[in-house]
Amino acid sequence: MTTQHIDPFLESASSILGMFQFAPQIGESTKQEKPLTGKEIITVIGVTGHLRGQVYTGMSTDDALRIVSGMMGGASVTEFDDMALSAISELANMICGNAAIHLSQTGVTLDISPPTVITGSGIGVMASKMNMTSVPIHMDGMDGLEICLALEV
């Protein structure tokens, strides 16, 4: 997994959040011992093809509600219900799907699984055999989205 593989996911996340009226900024990529620490809502998408592994997104419940509200054109969203869960799943699907479009233009073809969402506090995520690279996507007045990639070529 190189920056050439990672960047499309970050750019995709950034442009999609932009479409929902956020002003995201991609932070520094780090090799994380404990990725997604403190995130209450975590999405997981499986990747197969030229890259294999998982792509995670993590966020706080408050941020998830704000993101879902943005996805619904500013509608008030106060509870992380089934609809919000579905919207956050779709966000992860859009991020990975759009990254797959960009990667395909460089000859890297991927397929992705439907998303899984994990909710709770104090969740830890670890890929037993792969390095995980974690990148924060900063958003004004929010904790921001953490994108975590465990992919092998």
Binding site: M19, V68, E90, G97, N98, S104, P114
Partner: protein, 119 residues
């Protein structure tokens, strides 16, 4: 105004599409959360047009397009997926889809595609 079947595994997307379509003067006559349900619902509700996601559990969208087109060669289906790479678009069109919209989409893009396919 068209009678439309909306197929997407995410309830959120179905609601957003329903909202866009009804504001555009169309009627969503049925919904399905995977390809198999889509085939069933197509037979029951006989829609004028289908919006079809690709990545779904049970049966993915391109297989559903093939099967719907087999039973009704005049079926009008528009793909609506985040997986918009060239190979997916080509496979969808070969399966019989009329257009391909990449998520996230603008409402106008969806309504324009529908008007074009129904014209």
């Amino acid at each position: 105004m068209a009678k439309i079947l909306v197929v997407d595994d995410a309830a959120f997307m179905r609601i957003m599409l329903k909202d866009i379509l009804s504001k555009g003067g169309h009627e969503v006559v049925a919904e399905a959360a995977n390809g198999l349900e889509a085939i069933e619902q197509y037979g029951i509700s006989k829609p004028d047009l289908v919006t079809m996601d690709i990545t779904m559990p049970v049966m993915e969208g391109i297989d559903a397009v093939k099967q719907i087109r087999q039973s009704d060669p005049s079926a009008k289906i528009i793909m609506c997926s985040a997986m918009g790479q060239q190979t997916m678009v080509v496979q969808s069109i070969q399966a019989g889809a009329k257009d391909f919209i990449v998520k996230p989409f603008q409402p106008d893009r969806v309504l324009e595609a529908i008007d074009k396919v129904l014209a």
